[in-house]
């Protein structure tokens, strides 16, 4: 598998969030800042890589009829590990991401990749696939989080670049802002996707 092509695909052309519209709940909920977006993205990547690996290793063992529940147990296990791990190491981030950490288990991206790819491909390829999709997801969250943080809080990654007294456009860090920003981001990403595909 051509790594560059793979990553280009998962970042820009078939980005899980902007291309396939998966994993929207955490995308909208935790991107009030770039840092939270990255945190969630990386946590999800860990789960995605783990579950893809396990599913791929066990793909000939898991009977077809119960594959979905089996996948879910595997995914939920990794999610619980991430949950406890974050609470032990990055306590603040764990508090901020809150409810959405256990919700990683229903992030349609993970179940989607397990079903569409890991259950049908080799271990190394599944590992890369999990990694690439996870990073693509993180990328989308980072962009969305950055836009919302820059306009809504006047900072990026916590680093304020104008003084407190300057007004910021608050709506960006609020719920409506999340939807609106994603909407416009989709326009941008669709354009990029078209351009990149036109190249091929």
């Amino acid at each position: 598998m051509n790594l560059i092509e793979k990553f280009k695909k998962t970042f820009f052309i078939e980005n899980p969030v902007t291309g396939l519209l998966l994993g929207l709940c955490p995308t909208l909920a935790v991107t009030s800042s770039a840092e939270n977006g990255i945190g969630m993205g990386l946590a999800t990547t860990f789960v995605l890589v783990g579950s893809n690996l396990v599913v791929s290793i066990l793909k000939n063992v898991i009977p077809n009829r119960v594959r979905i529940p089996a996948f879910i147990v595997v995914i939920a296990t990794f999610v619980t590990i991430v949950d406890m791990g974050l609470q032990a190491t990055f306590f603040e981030l764990h508090k901020t991401l809150g409810l959405f950490i256990p919700l990683i288990v229903v992030n349609c991206i993970i179940l989607g990749r397990a079903e569409a790819f890991a259950s049908k491909n080799g271990v190394w390829d599944s590992f890369i696939d999990g990694f690439a999709n996870g990073l693509g997801f993180t990328f989308a969250l980072f962009i969305l989080g950055s836009i919302r943080e820059i306009f809504g809080s006047g900072a990026i990654l916590g680093f304020k670049f104008w003084p407190e007294e300057y007004r910021t456009i608050l709506v960006f860090v609020l719920a409506p802002g999340a939807f609106l920003t994603l909407g416009f981001m989709l326009v941008g990403m669709n354009k990029i996707s078209k351009v990149l595909q036109g190249d091929k």
Partner: protein, 194 residues
């Protein structure tokens, strides 16, 4: 024959997966529960340090006392000096009916029931609006107040507290939380004088 085999296989595989994952999680749980407890304690310690401000030379117990005030659960740490006299109170109350939900906050009182400072422990209030209750500008006005020298509601409701701009609900919740801490102080004082 094939069908029977397959049903058995299904059950075995599922059970194995379930067992393995339960095992793995139990292990991770054991490994992480130590650091998690430590993190929680560190956070409480930090909060107490903040709400008790400049108070020095005190110790407080590992675990708070728990009771109820104003129909709401409340926990408190008694800060005592080396001769075991009380020098301060760190009280964890709920700010009720916040914009998003109830939130936990800590109020620090000195031995006379005067507010030293406040700290919000956990909240889901609106960033930029309600979460301004963490800012110096808002917190300043609470310092030095007692149960009796202040009318405990926001100005809009006839009280003495300046609400946050466009975050009246959060401000009301916060104010009521502080009020609860003061009520607890009064109750504890009355109980100890009995």
């Amino acid at each position: 024959m094939a069908k029977e085999e397959s049903a058995l296989k299904v059950i075995i595989v599922l059970v194995l997966i379930a067992f393995f994952s339960a095992f793995l999680l139990a292990y991770v749980n054991k490994v992480t529960s130590g650091p998690i407890e430590a993190n929680k304690k560190a956070e409480t310690k930090k909060a107490i340090g903040i709400v008790l401000g400049d108070l020095k030379d005190y110790t407080f117990p590992e675990n708070p006392e728990e009771t109820e005030i104003d129909n709401s659960p409340v926990k408190y740490f008694l800060a005592k000096s080396s001769d075991s006299s009380i020098v301060g109170y760190a009280i964890v109350v709920k700010g009720p009916n916040g914009f998003s939900s109830d939130f936990d906050m800590m109020v620090g009182l000195d031995v006379n029931g005067k507010i030293i400072d406040t700290y919000v422990l956990d909240h889901k209030e609106t960033p930029g609006l309600g979460d301004g209750m963490k800012n110096e500008g808002f917190k300043k006005q609470f310092r030095g107040r007692t149960l009796d020298n202040t009318k405990w509601s926001v100005k809009k409701d006839g009280g003495d507290i300046d609400a946050l701009t466009a975050a009246t609900i959060t401000s009301r919740a916060f104010t009521h939380g502080v009020y609860r801490a003061l009520l607890l102080y009064k109750k504890l004082k009355e109980e100890s004088n009995v």
